[in-house]
Each structure stands twice: as structure tokens, then as C-alpha cells.
């Protein structure tokens, strides 16, 4: 088992964690927890095709995610089928297609990630994380009104279909950021679990988003540090830590 070393070993995952925490805060408030998890699986066929043609799997995953989310958005707006149904169907198809195309160790790595982050995509990773964070901060007010009611958003001058597309694309980018590190299966969890914990503990938007980002970063940092010591894989360890914090939060009564 290899472990990442150097400053990049922490900077990239922490950027990814901050983006995941913020993105998740909106996703759980929109009741998209399961849809979010399923959406991440859309990356699988892209990763498999990238591995087959010897292209960086991150790029393959990102392309598949972008295409998949645009498809989800278009079907939702054209057919008025609820998002979770659309995501459910596309997710199953993507998982089946990915399993057919990839095999063995490659598939395991795609599903659970690998901690080796020392490649030329580090910079892209940081850039992507910054983009997601800027998006959520810039569009936070629009996203909040949209999640309370789309009917309130339109008269306030918000272009709801455009906002939904941008949100799904930012979501796809967040998943892509974690593909190398956490893999397809676990990145969805890093988006949802810290935010679900924060939803229990936070009483207003600011505290909720702060708690969500803090838990995502804490779990990622401690998982990355503890993995070599415990001789465990960093990705699953990060999610186990995040889930443990969630279960601990169940004992805390909201103020």
C-alpha cells in the first residue's frame, strides 16, 4: 500500500474536503442525499473508458460526470420526472456499463480510490476545489431561495433551470475532485455525511456550513494522517471517521 507524502498530500485532500462540505450543505437541505450518492457512480464508465485507452482516469471520470449531469438535468426539465428517479435510472446504467468495461484491480481502485496524488492533476484539483467553493459562496442566496421553493425563486429574478444546471455541474466537479483520492463509492459519502451531521447541529445557515466544512476537513486530515500509522487505506478510513462523528452527533441535542 502506498501513502502520499509532501505538502500536496494534505493540500489537495483538504481543498477537496472543503468543497465537499459546502456542496453537501446544499445537497442535504435539498433532500438530495441519496441522489447525490448515486450521481457519483456516473463517473465509473468514464474512468473505465479512460483506463482502456490509457488516458488519465480523472479526466475520463470528469467527462462522464459532466455528460451524466447534463443528461439528468435535460431529462428532468423535458419530462418532468423527479430528479431521484432520473438519477436512479442513469446511475444503474452507468454502474452496469462501468463494470462491463473495467475489471479487477482497476475497478476496485475506481470504486475506492488510491491515495497517490502526486501527479500533474494536483493543480487542476486545487483549481477545481476553488471553483466549487467560489460557486457556492457566490450563489448561496439563490440556492437557499431555490431550495425553500422554486416558486419563490422565479419572481425574485432567479433563473431556476440555469441555477439547477450550474449546481449539478458544480456537484459533478466536486465528485471528480475526490475520484482519485476516495473513489466513486466514497466521494458521495464525504459530500453527504459531514453535511448531514451539520444539519443536526447547526441552527442557521452560517453555522451549518461551517460545521459541515470543518467535519469534512477534520475527517480527511485525520484519515490521511492515521492511515499510514494504522496501515489502512486512507479513503475508507476518512469515511469511517466522518460516519463516527455523525453517530456521535446523534447524542447531541440541537440547541
Amino acid at each position: 500500500m502506498t501513502y502520499a507524502t509532501g505538502p500536496g498530500a494534505f493540500l489537495i485532500p483538504l481543498g477537496m474536503a472543503a468543497a465537499a462540505g459546502l456542496m453537501g450543505s446544499i445537497a442535504v437541505m435539498r433532500r438530495m442525499a441519496l441522489a447525490s450518492d448515486a450521481l457519483s457512480h456516473i463517473a465509473l464508465p468514464g474512468i473505465a473508458i479512460a483506463l482502456l485507452v490509457h488516458v488519465n482516469p480523472f479526466l475520463g471520470g470528469l467527462i462522464a460526470l459532466v455528460l451524466g449531469t447534463v443528461l439528468v438535468w435535460a431529462i428532468e426539465y423535458r419530462s418532468r420526472i423527479p430528479t431521484d428517479v432520473v438519477v436512479g435510472v442513469i446511475f444503474s446504467a452507468a454502474l452496469a456499463l462501468g463494470s462491463l468495461l473495467a475489471s479487477g484491480d482497476e475497478l476496485i481502485e475506481a470504486l475506492f480510490g488510491s491515495p497517490n496524488t502526486s501527479d500533474s492533476f494536483n493543480l487542476i484539483g486545487l483549481g477545481g476545489a476553488s471553483l466549487v467553493i467560489v460557486f457556492i459562496v457566490r450563489y448561496r442566496s439563490q440556492l437557499v431561495i431555490r431550495l425553500v421553493s422554486p416558486d419563490l425563486a422565479r419572481p425574485a429574478g432567479i433563473n431556476v433551470p440555469r441555477l439547477d444546471l450550474l449546481y449539478l455541474l458544480a456537484f459533478a466537479l466536486t465528485i471528480a475532485l475526490g475520484l482519485r483520492y476516495l473513489g466513486v463509492l466514497l466521494m458521495g459519502s464525504l459530500i453527504i455525511i459531514p453535511a448531514a451531521t451539520a444539519m443536526r447541529l447547526g441552527t442557521n445557515l452560517r453555522t451549518m456550513q461551517t460545521i459541515s466544512v470543518a467535519i469534512a476537513m477534520l475527517a480527511t486530515l485525520s484519515g490521511t494522517l492515521l492511515a499510514p500509522v494504522l496501515r489502512l487505506a486512507a479513503g475508507p478510513l476518512i469515511i469511517v471517521i466522518a460516519a463516527s462523528i455523525f453517530f456521535l452527533s446523534l447524542a447531541v441535542r440541537r440547541a
Binding site: 433532500r31 448561496r140 439563490q142 437557499v144 425553500v148 416558486d151 419563490l152 422565479r154 445557515l205
Partner: protein, 236 residues
């Protein structure tokens, strides 16, 4: 109440608007107008398309025909009771601040509108899922007032609100209209309120739509026939 509006400019002109969902025609060829500073009550039985019409006016539902708002119109919309999650970590302040940000209203606007609808700061700081029906309805009204709208659209503003609160919400709407000179479109089942506050009535039914001044509409045999004893009672 029935001041002449003939010479006033229109806040809204609706000409031949129809809405269909698939094969089902929900609104068929509806025309009316709203004078600046006046109140239009939209009445009709359940399923007659009142909410769909309001949604068509704000562009949330695709409609054919012409919907023409006066230039520089700013719309405040108060929907029928919203079902929100009780555990949402959003306070009334988060909600109002979001509208202030989106509409580029002055930072003090959240406090101003909360004052207008008599919501105390401590209530505004509570998570919105913990508010009572009446408090939440006032918050929705405050939300609509952020950014100083010129037109307010109400979809049964007192649905799910108890009677004393219902009267106070209507009094508030009336007071706001007087003070701010707003044009108001309101869906209501309460014909007493309609008679007291509306300048014009738009009546929607499966047999067609009827638009006119409140007094003329309430004395219309046709409306009585379609809307039943409530209208007959008001005529007496």
C-alpha cells in the same frame, strides 16, 4: 373603495391566456387587467385554475397568450402554504438576507420588512421550521416585500392560519397597499374579504372566466349561479 380606475395606467394586462397540461386545458382564454394601486381578487372553486394562473403570471407555468407587466414592475409573490422541512437549519434572517442579496436591496431591508409585518427580531432569528403557521405566513409576506415590489401576488394568504390571525393578515395587506401604493392580486375563498378589499374580481370556472368591477360582479346573476349562496348572501 370603488374609486374610478378607468384613467389609471395598468400594472398588468392579460390577453387571451390559456394553459394546458398535456390534453387537459386548465385555463382557457382568460383576459383581464389590473390598474396601478388597485386590488384584483381571483375567485373560483377548487380546481378552477386560480393557482395555475398566478404561476403563469410569474412565468413558472408555460402559457399561451399575452401577459404584459408594466415596465419596471417588481413582483412580490406569497404562495399558498409551503410545506417546508421542520429541521431545515435556516433562520428567517437567512431567508430574508438571501432575498436582500438576490435583489440587491439595501442591507437594512430585512429589518425594515420584518418591522412592516410585525415580526420581532427574536422570531426572525428562529429556524423557519419552528415557526407557527401565522408567523411563517408573515415571514413569506416579509420575503415578498424585500426589494420594494410594485405588485404583490397572494395565493390564499391565510390558508392554514387560524381566524384571528387571518383577519390580521388581511388588515396587514390592506395597510401595506395603502402605505406603499402597491397593486395587489389575491386568490381568496373568503367572499366577505373580497367584497371589502377588491376593486375588481376575476371569476374562474370550467364554463369560462368573468372579469369586472366588484359591485357589478357581485350583483351578476351568472356569478351567483356559479359561485352559489355566498355571493347571494353578500348581495342582500
Amino acid at each position: 373603495m370603488l374609486t374610478p380606475f378607468e384613467n389609471r395606467p395598468h400594472a398588468l394586462d392579460v390577453i387571451g391566456v390559456s394553459v394546458a397540461f398535456g390534453e387537459v386545458c386548465v385555463i382557457d382564454n382568460v383576459s383581464f387587467h389590473v390598474d396601478v394601486g388597485s386590488t384584483l381578487a381571483i375567485v373560483g372553486r377548487n380546481g378552477s385554475g386560480k393557482t395555475v394562473l398566478l404561476k403563469a403570471l410569474i412565468g413558472a407555468v408555460r402559457a399561451s397568450g399575452t401577459v404584459r407587466w408594466a415596465p419596471e414592475t417588481r413582483i412580490g409573490y406569497v404562495p399558498q402554504k409551503l410545506d417546508i422541512q421542520r429541521d431545515l437549519p435556516l433562520t428567517g434572517r437567512d431567508f430574508l438576507d438571501a432575498k436582500v442579496d438576490v435583489t440587491h436591496a439595501p442591507a437594512t431591508d430585512a429589518q425594515r420588512v420584518a418591522g412592516l409585518v410585525n415580526l420581532s427580531q427574536s422570531i426572525v432569528d428562529q429556524p423557519i421550521g419552528t415557526l407557527s403557521g401565522g408567523q411563517f405566513q408573515r415571514l413569506l409576506l416579509a420575503f415578498a416585500l424585500v426589494g420594494t415590489p410594485s405588485v404583490l401576488l397572494f395565493d390564499e394568504p391565510t390558508a392554514g392560519v387560524d381566524e384571528p390571525e387571518e383577519k390580521s393578515v388581511y388588515a396587514l395587506i390592506h395597510q401595506l397597499q395603502q402605505n406603499e401604493g402597491l397593486s395587489v392580486l389575491v386568490i381568496s375563498h373568503d367572499m366577505t374579504q373580497v367584497q371589502a378589499s377588491a376593486d375588481h374580481i376575476l371569476f374562474l370556472s370550467h364554463h369560462g372566466s368573468y372579469f369586472g368591477k366588484t359591485a357589478d360582479m357581485l350583483s351578476s346573476e351568472r356569478l351567483q349561479e356559479l359561485h352559489g349562496p355566498t355571493v347571494a348572501h353578500l348581495r342582500e
